[in-house]
């Protein structure tokens, strides 16, 4: 098990380094000249040359790559052309909102996936409805779900808020940055409740597409699993149906659904970027959306690196979980 974890971690590190190198190359390819972007169009040639020297742009490429990677290692993502602050400082302010949204989105996706999978597998009149839901959910763009949710639950019914993370002007600034957790830690459950109400629509909007994909995989492996010979053996030796399903079938079926979950996190991240714009969610997606028109490549590559690292981390955890659920994966 330790060997497996070490192997997966090493692979993750290699991928992240490769991603950083790609970001470095993209930055070089970008038509925006960093020195000009920092100083503005009216800067004198001498000032440009000086800035290029300060930024290290007059050094050979391998040396620049070296100092870039070294900077990343120390959390230095460069300066944003737009905000004139270090990208890492900017990101620090935006990450908690995105982390909270993604965590709740993932939780909703997993719950929905199990409901969809079981609902469409069981033999009952509603199974067809669930199958139609699976097909429709796989085809609905996240932004359409979001605006439909706003129209129904905000405009029509008035049950849920449509913008932002919280109604409080100064929510408790807590250790985690997650409002739902910090509210509880500061003994203010009203803040947590309010944050949850703000989370429902955006988290559901990013959860549907991954839920459908995970649900489909879970459904097909459940169908195959229940027909397998080991289920007959387990039933024949007198195990209860619950033990059969939870100890035998589900454990065997989890592997495929888990790796699908890992893959879907990537899709969810692109959903997060879109959804944050719709709900004015103060996360990295908003930051990215503002950086794109400004051609602020350091900011964009910072967000990309962050989401890439998040994706690699989730998939590394998934790999290890798979090995825990199914020791045969241990190869």
């Amino acid at each position: 098990m330790i060997a497996l974890v070490a192997k997966r971690l090493a692979a993750a590190v290699v991928i992240v380094v490769a991603l950083s190198v790609v970001m470095f190359i993209l930055r070089r390819l970008s038509p925006v000249d960093p020195a000009h972007a920092m100083l503005g169009p009216t800067a004198s040639p001498a000032a440009i040359a000086h800035e290029e020297h300060v930024l290290g742009l007059d050094r050979p490429l391998p040396a620049q790559l070296g100092s870039y990677l070294n900077g990343l290692l120390h959390g230095n993502l460069g300066m944003s052309y737009r905000t004139r602050r270090p990208v890492s400082t900017d990101l620090g302010a935006f990450v908690p909102a995105t982390a909270e949204l993604s965590l709740y989105g993932l939780a909703f996706a997993l719950i929905l996936a199990v409901i969809l999978a079981v609902g469409s597998t069981l033999r009952w009149p509603g199974a067809t409805v669930f199958r139609v839901l699976l097909m429709a959910g796989a085809s609905a763009p996240a932004f359409l779900l979001a605006i439909a949710g706003i129209l129904v639950f905000y405009a029509k019914l008035g049950w849920l808020p449509a913008t932002g993370r919280t109604s409080y002007a100064n929510p408790p600034a807590g250790p985690t940055g997650l409002l739902t957790v910090d509210g509880l830690l500061h003994g203010e459950p009203a803040v947590t409740l309010d944050a949850l109400r703000h989370l429902v629509l955006p988290a559901l909007a990013i959860a549907v597409a991954p839920a459908v994909s995970i649900g489909r995989v879970l459904r097909s492996s459940l169908l195959a699993g229940m027909r397998s010979d080991y289920v007959r053996t387990a039933r024949a030796k007198g195990l209860s149906e619950r033990t059969v399903v939870f100890r035998h079938v589900l454990r065997n079926c989890l592997s495929a659904a888990l790796s699908m979950t890992g893959l879907q996190v990537g899709l969810m991240f692109s959903g997060v970027l879109v959804i944050e714009e719709i709900f004015a969610w103060p996360g990295v997606g908003e930051y990215m959306a503002q950086s794109i028109p400004a051609a602020d490549f350091p900011a964009i590559s910072g967000v990309t690196l962050l989401l890439g690292i998040g994706y690699v981390a989730v998939n590394t955890v998934v790999d290890v979980l798979q090995a825990v659920a199914d020791p045969r994966v241990n190869a």
């Binding site: 993209l26 097909m135 085809s139 763009p141 359409l144 990537g266 970027l273 490549f297 964009i300």
Partner: protein
């Protein structure tokens, strides 16, 4: 479609009995029976679903003819609700026909998705073919690069590539194409590897066929069905990804009609004139649904993979 063998207690079906994943004898028999009665209907349904691909292409090709009005010029009162004043989907904030904009947006989205799929198939197919036939170090290096791409979130990476190239529709297509081939490379390489072990390839080799001839004549055709099925199931995903990028402003600039961007730009009208942002988004959903249904149909027709 494969015909199930009749069940005989001592026949091959009985010997297959305990192999995991194989259909059990009774099951095979009942499937064969139901196929006899309802198989034709299921096949017709699959063909109908697959033809949605052609229908969607037809809408895209005929969009300029089908669109009743200009997409750029205001043609009526602003903010007319759907159905009023002869505007089936209403008019937008400055009086442009929403239906015309949706149709032209359909054209660009659909062709963009097909173009990226085609490039993914060609690039991924060639890399998969090269890796699968060459083997050894070439295979290892190519597949490590492929895995590296697969280990990263493709849509996010595409955004970074567009940002580096500079926003623009063509740049977006190039960026998505750059991140969209690895999956096909994996599929084709896997098919090639399993085909390479088959007797007909050995026979071709003994007959003196060169490596290139074996690759192109004896290996590549066998990998086509799997690649086509994967591609047809992928069109819907690509439609959604491209719509999301367009929503984020990485598509064509104003005033071009584009489904994702039309939703994003008209969000301020959502609460009063809901149809202006909703209709283009709904069109994306219809397009993705058509692509997904067609993909399922093609998978059923070409064999369950």
């Amino acid at each position: 479609m494969a015909v199930a063998e009749p069940y005989t207690p001592q026949g091959p079906a009985a010997r297959r009995r305990w192999r995991p994943g194989a259909t059990r004898p009774g099951q095979a028999r009942s499937q064969a029976r139901s196929r006899g009665r309802a198989g034709g209907r299921a096949r017709k349904r699959d063909i109908a679903a697959a033809s949605l691909l052609a229908l969607s292409t037809l809408i895209a090709v005929l969009a300029p003819v089908l669109a009743p009005y200009s997409t750029i010029q205001p043609v009526g009162m602003p903010q007319l609700p759907p159905g009023s004043g002869g505007f089936l989907l209403g008019t937008d904030a400055i009086g442009r026909d929403v239906l015309s904009r949706v149709l032209i947006g359909w054209q660009s989205s659909w062709f963009a998705a097909l173009a990226v799929i085609a490039s993914g198939l060609i690039v991924g197919g060639l890399i998969g073919l090269a890796a699968g036939t060459a083997g050894g170090a070439t295979d290892t290096i190519l597949m490590r690069i492929t895995d590296g791409f697969l280990a990263l979130p493709a849509p996010v990476l595409a955004i970074a590539v567009v940002a580096a190239l500079g926003p623009g529709f063509v740049h977006t297509l190039i960026a998505v194409a750059i991140v969209w081939w690895p999956f096909y490379a994996r599929i084709v390489r896997g098919e090639i590897r399993s085909l390479a072990a088959r007797p007909h390839v050995e026979a071709a080799r003994l007959a003196g066929a060169g490596r290139f001839r074996i690759a192109v004549r004896h290996l590549l055709p066998g990998a086509v069905p799997a690649a086509v099925v994967t591609a047809s199931l992928d069109v819907g995903n690509l439609v959604l990804t491209l719509a999301a990028l367009s929503f984020l402003g990485l598509g064509q600039p104003q005033p071009a009609a584009e489904l994702g961007a039309d939703t994003a730009r008209n969000l301020p009208y959502l609460l009063q004139e809901w149809w202006i942002p909703v209709m283009p988004g709904l069109a994306v959903m219809v397009m993705a649904l058509a692509a997904n249904l067609a993909g399922d149909g093609i998978r059923n027709l070409l064999g369950d993979r």
